[in-house]
């Protein structure tokens, strides 16, 4: 049986191209231009999925993105599995593999369906009332069971191999929706020369017109659709994006678009991303998002074979598919009669038209009568039959009060069409924070004013007929262009008045009193029934937001597109309020679900964040360095030789620095050139140190606080000229220190004539440290006398090295005789290699950040961010000596004057020596004064830095300890899982306390 329900002709599918696909392993065919849903229906397949809670058999309900029931997983390969896709949106391609979800062992025979039998005992919110005893059982029994049952499709378990992309775009007018209103709007706006982006979620433009057998007739202009589309496609200022959903309306007219590029292709081009996420900034936004048909709420309204009337009409006219052979139409509006008439014309038996209204006198009902279709007015549906497919409905007459009376009549059918009227799609408008107001005639919320530059046109503001929508779009388009600042020629017609298209009052169809416990569904996917909503109201939930959360209505993957208004109607009746008084739940982004990958876009792997490397990086890679991430930088942590452990490598590196010479890449240190006649004043106000006395050519260790008094950054500062400082910062602090400086300069000290320039990346910085450093450089450096007399510790001199201009610093972060060569970055690699070559006779050894940390710790030099944590003052860190004593003010000074900032109980930086010299403490380990204390206790400090010092042949540690400096010599304890370790408090300077080596 192949496409048994396909019409012999008609529709917009390409009958010349047969497409093969499988559903749950069953091989089927459809045509190019089909959706999975239309192809399944063509093959008379109505059972497509199972519902979330009761595992009820479910079929296709709609023909669009509002579909709550027909959800499937599409599998391209093991890694390319996408769950929860709507069959009504999935475009058919050759070899498509679709699988149903949330069923076991099979779709037809689903064990989960037993929950349906339990349904009387598991109403809305039942889980809040039980599963509480015994207490622990929630954890190991109930929750696992609930979790096993929950969820719809399966998440893919392999990394997604596809790529995703991003794009920013700007336009004068963004038009959302390519139906009659959107197309007309785009056309009108384009005439003004406006830059336009038109996005349409479907593969083709046309919107509702695509479901007309003759769009021309609907518009009274046969050529309009094709002509307009052609015009837009060829227009240089118009960008048309199909398969593109506007998913979110963000502040200041930023709209998020998701464009699906390859999902509809059998063989996607591997270079093309699967999806592209657009961020469009529009001067004006025009929403032509159409309307969504509303189902009717009656017992058993969820069986496969029960469709929205408009959907069935789409399947017939657009896809050439008969959704059934014998149909019943349930309606409360004239519009839905079109479906019955079209299906009748196509040869479907119309067993009945059941119109809830007392009478149906319009043009369309008359046409139905003329066609001899059996028409029952003032009637309601009280039940349906059938299990995996609807087999019949039971209707009952309504008396003058609208109450069911008399005997129910059964009508056999295999297709039920229902229509409760249309609900304008105001989602995006509402996201823009636009106000909605209730329209009694349309029984719908309509858009009012938006605080953003946005307007609506067509069905999304209640103008339903194609022709009226087109005219509405035309004027709206011209107005949008005008408001975007363009000259418009078109005369703006008055927007057409809203037409009172009949609609059922949202809520449940009239039912006999004391009716049996049959389910009338409001939210198809989450299995929320009218009884659940009544229960929530009975339990005192009044806010619609509470009812939504308690019953989960509107929280399924369709986000209530078809259920919200009916839910409102039922609640309103239950608590005796009018619908607008009950109010509406907030519309949240996204309009339809959006792929995570498209948010991430290019940001993955090495492009997740920039990888910053220094000019010497490649050399380090070649030397087999192991790197660590510091901010965005990759820094060489150590240089293992022939399989050395980190420990061994670091010991070796440290020893060479102490005994001969080490080479270190310090290029990542932040550098700021502070220039101007008030430079010294600026530095005095900012840093705690005094700079007035710093002579040109000399350096000083600077400490920077925030105005809260805590250490923020530190670094060597060199005076290059009277009016010029070369300031260095920590690697991580480079950007924030510069920002802080600019802040004070631009907003507080605007009296100062000073300018700042980041030179972090201008200079490659090569540290040469160790007793042999001078010998290594002697052969390379020009124009600088390296002698201790001419270039003492903490001084700087301009010069050249191997003909390359440099700033040569005589500084040491290791405690050894040391130099830091600053050369222009492009020369960094060459100079580094030259120094390395020259150093080899002297046993020069490259060392990494780990050895650097050990060496500085041996000298008791702190690392800001490791030995400080944002709660440490200069005095805590033992750096009070650095403060300029005669300065009336500097950043942080006032905060330091608060008593608590120099109380006796403050944590102070000290050294620790373990009783057992080879035990290396864990960084972050806590410190207690008494060996006997056991948790819970309040430690008096913690270890900030801890290493094995090869030089000293034992472990060393720095720690912040309460009143630490008074505890010199005391024994304290470090509680570890294995027991306490005893440590002795000592000076934080472990090596060469006199500093004779660095002054050598």
């Amino acid at each position: 049986m192949s496409q048994a329900l396909r019409t012999p002709s008609g529709g917009r599918i390409n009958r010349a191209r047969t497409v093969r696909f499988t559903f749950d392993g069953r091989e089927l065919t459809g045509f190019e231009g089909d959706t999975l849903a239309s192809a399944l229906l063509a093959n008379d397949v109505h059972l497509v999925g199972r519902s979330f809670k009761y595992h009820r058999p479910r079929g296709v309900l709609t023909a669009g993105p509002e579909e709550p029931s027909a959800l499937v997983a599409i599998r391209r390969d093991a890694a390319r599995v996408t769950p929860n896709l709507r069959a009504t949106e999935v475009e058919l391609y050759e070899g498509l593999v679709a699988e149903s979800q949330n069923r076991w062992p099979s779709l037809k025979l689903d064990v989960g369906a037993v929950s349906g039998l339990l349904s009387p005992f598991i109403p809305a919110g039942f889980y809040y009332k039980t599963f509480m005893w015994p207490r622990r059982a929630w954890q190991w029994l109930y929750e696992p069971k609930i979790r096993a049952a929950a969820g719809l499709g399966r998440a893919p378990e392999h990394p997604d191999p596809d790529s995703y992309s991003n794009r920013f775009a700007h336009c004068d007018v963004l038009i959302v929706g390519g139906g009659p209103a959107g197309l007309a709007a785009a056309h009108a706006a384009a005439e003004s020369g406006a830059r336009i982006i038109l996005c349409e979620q479907q593969p083709q433009l046309g919107g509702s017109l695509l479901s007309e057998t003759d769009p021309g007739a609907a518009l009274g202009d046969g050529e309009w659709l094709s002509r307009t589309i052609q015009g837009l496609m060829n227009h240089p200022r118009v960008t048309v994006l199909t398969r593109t959903t506007a998913f979110g309306y963000f502040p200041h007219n930023l709209i998020g678009l998701e464009q699906r590029l390859t999902e509809h292709l059998a063989q996607p081009d591997p270079r093309q991303p699967r999806e592209r996420q657009w961020q469009v900034r529009a001067k004006e936004v025009l929403l032509a998002t159409g309307a969504i048909e509303r189902p009717l709420v009656f017992p058993g309204n969820d069986r496969p074979g029960i469709l929205l009337a408009g959907a069935a009409r789409s399947y017939l006219n657009r896809y050439g598919v008969l959704a059934g052979r014998r149909a019943v139409l349930l309606t409360a509006s004239d519009e839905a009669y079109r479906s019955a008439l079209d299906l009748h014309r196509a040869g479907v038996t119309i067993a009945a038209i059941v119109d809830v209204r007392p009478q149906a006198a319009g043009e369309l009902p008359e046409a139905a009568r003329r066609a001899g279709l059996p028409l029952h007015t003032a009637a309601t549906v009280v039940g349906t039959t059938g299990r995996l497919r609807v087999q019949g409905i039971r209707i009952q007459r309504l008396d003058a009060q609208g109450q069911p009376q008399g005997a129910a009549e059964r009508i056999a059918c295999d297709l039920v069409l229902m229509s409760g009227g249309h609900t304008p799609s105001v989602h995006l408008f509402s996201q823009s924070r636009g106000k909605l107001h209730w329209n009694e005639a349309l029984q719908a919320f309509l858009p009012g004013q938006s605080p953003e530059k946005a307007r609506c046109a067509g069905a999304c503001r209640g103008i339903f007929s194609a022709e009226a929508a087109r005219r509405d779009g035309e004027s709206a388009g011209a107005l949008a262009a005008r408001d975007a600042g363009l000259a418009i020629g078109a005369i703006i017609r008055e927007p057409p008045l809203l037409e009172a298209a009949g609609a059922a009052v949202p809520g449940e169809l009239p039912q006999p009193a004391g009716r049996p416990a049959i389910k009338a569904f409001v939210d198809w996917q989450n299995d929320v029934t009218s009884r659940d909503l009544s229960l929530a109201a009975r339990e005192g939930f009044r806010s619609i937001e509470h009812i939504k959360r308690y019953t989960t209505t509107g929280m399924a993957t369709d986000q209530g597109k078809i259920s919200n208004l009916n839910a409102l109607g039922i609640v309103a009746r239950q608590i005796g309020k009018a619908i607008p008084e009950v109010g509406l739940t907030t519309f949240r982004m996204p309009y339809t679900p959006v792929t995570f990958g498209s948010f991430a876009g290019y940001a993955r792997g090495e492009l997740f964040d920039p990888v910053r490397t220094t000019p010497i990086h490649d050399w380090a890679v070649h030397e087999g360095a192991v790197f660590e991430d510091v901010g965005l930088w990759k820094r060489a942590r150590y240089f293992p030789r022939n399989g050395e452990s980190m420990h061994a490598a670091v010991n070796r590196e440290c020893q060479s620095v102490r005994t001969s010479c080490g080479l270190f890449d310090a290029s990542t240190l932040g550098k700021i050139e502070v220039v101007g006649k008030d430079a010294v004043t600026f530095m005095n106000r900012l840093y705690i140190n005094s700079w007035t006395s710093l002579a040109v050519g000399r350096c000083r260790y600077g400490i920077l606080l925030r105005d809260d008094g805590f250490v923020y950054d530190d670094g060597i500062v060199a005076r290059i000229a009277e009016d010029r400082f070369h300031v260095t910062t920590t690697t991580g602090g480079a950007a924030r220190v510069l920002a802080m400086m600019e802040d004070y300069l631009q907003t507080e000290w605007r009296d100062l004539s000073v300018w700042l320039t980041s030179t972090t990346e201008q200079w490659a910085v090569i540290a040469v440290q160790g007793p042999g450093a001078r010998h290594v450089l002697e052969g390379l450096v020009q124009d600088v006398d390296l002698s201790a007399a001419a270039l003492p510790h903490m001084s700087v001199a301009p010069g050249r090295i191997c003909g390359v201009p440099m700033r040569l610093f005589r500084v040491s972060f290791t405690g050894e005789l040391g130099f830091e060569i600053n050369v222009p970055a492009d020369f960094g690699a060459a100079v580094w290699e030259a120094v390395y070559e020259a150093g080899r006779p002297h046993g020069i050894t490259p060392y990494g950040t780990e050895a650097m940390h050990v060496l500085r710790a041996e000298k008791g030099y702190i690392i800001v961010g490791q030995d400080t944590d944002g709660t440490v003052t200069p005095d805590d860190a033992g750096l009070a000596w650095a403060a300029g004593t005669r300065k009336s003010d500097f950043v942080g000074k006032r905060a330091l004057e608060r008593p608590v900032m120099h109380g006796p109980e403050r944590k102070q930086l000290v050294g620790l020596l373990t009783a057992e010299p080879h035990v290396v403490l864990e960084e972050g380990a806590q410190i207690v004064p008494d060996a006997r204390v056991t948790p819970p206790t309040r430690p008096i400090g913690h270890v900030t830095s801890s290493y094995y010092s090869a030089t000293l042949g034992r472990s060393i540690a720095l720690a912040l300890v309460r009143a630490g400096r008074e505890r010199m010599g005391q024994t304290l304890y470090v509680p570890m899982p294995g027991g306490n370790l005893s440590v002795q408090v000592v000076s934080p300077v472990f090596y060469d306390p006199k500093g004779s080596r660095q002054n050598a």
């Binding site: 969820g151 998440a155 502040p251 996204p590 995570f596 944590d869 806590q926 819970p936």
Partner: protein, 416 residues
């Protein structure tokens, strides 16, 4: 109070689930109460419950501008943990975790507290130092927190990618007692239990002013539903704390920022615990319903719009896709924003105020949900005793003047 149980469900199931009473009354405001709580979130409702249950003060009104639980209580990612660094914080949050552990039974309302474990990833050497300091500090102050190697982390969460990523996972701090709960249920459970003890829960009642008597003490609140008198007024208004407290002339060191969160479409159970990465800003767990619940960051600017920028949620999903590349094909179902009230040291204020009879509970920033029962319990205590409980004694307003900050943010100091 109508008792909830599996049996009651079955019994009422036989009669079409009729006969359930409202979970709380639609109370009309009375002229006066013994105490008023401003703010009908989990914190405020819980405070009213504990006032009635533990301090015998049941003439209490909870005033909610909109619908209860509609603020941050219903807008967060439901993560619960107590492995904070400083002893003061750890004590505060662990007090809460201890109350969570029996909350369903105490309230006879299943709040679905699930101790699935919270894993906080370390991606850099500096992260490792900070995380291990937390682990050691927690071991000392009696809060469970353990260090996992990257492999151990992946064993606990098999989908986690630990290498071949921009910032490889170097380890993780793991708290077994941490987890998640059903956020709405917390508000409703507290409301129902408080209501049963006589507390009036008054929704759609916005506070317009706070009146002070001759002595300067707070004595009444003006609301959209009239003036309501009470000698003790507790303010638990999260993002709106500054606005409310200013009505009584109290200025706070607080700023309110938009915070976003989002969920994916529901998928079958696949994610066993909570995973957080403060370095690349990823916060993720799976709800009982099957949705992946993901926390994004705050926007840079203060705002009361309950709406954030697209680039913020993009950033969050970049991080999720980097750590869990199989989730790239999942889809965002729903995103939303809350207003978080942030203090300079990222620790809350839970204290008496300079105005007699006025108490404040605010500044929870992004961490308020986990603290719900604890904050509620301590606020009730502080109101009942007109003095703080030892646990919340350090969390004063004055600490900012005196410099006794409890700086959890700074302690996780930025990399060197």
């Amino acid at each position: 109070m109508q008792r909830f149980s599996g049996l009651s469900l079955i019994r009422r199931g036989l009669t079409g689930q009729r006969g359930w009473q409202p979970q709380w009354r639609q109370a009309e405001p009375k002229a006066a109460y013994d105490a008023i709580i401003v703010g009908g979130g989990g914190h405020g409702l819980g405070a009213a419950f504990y006032l009635a249950k533990e301090h015998g003060i049941s003439r209490v009104a909870v005033l909610e501008k909109g619908w209860i639980g509609g603020g941050n209580t219903g807008r967060n990612t439901t993560i619960i943990r107590s492995n904070y660094l400083f002893d003061e914080s750890a004590a505060l949050y662990d007090h809460s975790v201890q109350l969570w552990e029996s909350l369903s039974q105490v309230l006879n309302y299943n709040v679905m507290f699930s101790q699935r474990g919270v894993m906080m990833l370390a991606h850099t050497v500096h992260d490792v130092q900070v995380s291990q300091r937390h682990v050691h500090a927690n071991r000392a102050n009696g809060v469970d927190n353990e260090w996992l190697t990257p492999q151990e982390a992946r064993t606990r969460c098999p989908l986690l990618k630990i290498d071949d990523i921009r910032y490889p996972v170097l380890g993780a701090a793991y708290q077994r007692r941490g987890g998640t709960a059903r956020h709405d249920a917390v508000a409703w459970g507290f409301a129902r239990a408080a209501d049963a003890l006589g507390v009036d829960i008054i929704e759609n009642c916005e506070v317009l002013g706070i009146e002070r008597d001759a002595s300067g003490a707070a004595c009444a609140v003006e609301t959209t539903r009239g003036v309501i008198r009470a000698p003790r007024i507790g303010v638990s208004a999260a993002g709106h704390s500054s606005v409310i407290m200013r009505m009584a002339g109290v200025e706070l060191p607080i700023e309110s920022y938009p915070l976003q969160a989002l969920v994916s479409e529901p998928v079958k159970s696949i994610f066993p615990c909570v995973v957080m990465s403060n370095t690349i800003h990823a916060y993720i767990s799976q709800s009982d319903k099957g949705e992946m619940v993901i926390g994004a960051g705050t926007d840079a600017y203060t705002s009361y719009t309950q709406r954030g920028g697209l680039h913020i949620s993009r950033h969050a999903l970049e991080a999720i896709c980097e750590l869990f590349p199989m989730f790239r094909r999942l889809r965002m179902l729903r995103g939303w924003g809350g207003i978080v009230d942030v203090t300079p040291d990222r620790s809350p204020i839970l204290a008496k105020t300079p105005v007699p009879g006025l108490y404040v509970n605010c500044g929870w920033g992004t961490g308020g949900f986990k603290a719900t029962p604890g904050a509620a319990h301590l606020l009730a205590w502080t109101i009942a005793h007109d003095a703080p409980h030892p646990i919340n004694a350090p969390f004063t307003i004055e600490r900012f003047r005196d410099g006794n900050l409890i700086d959890e943010a700074a302690a996780a100091a930025v990399a060197h």
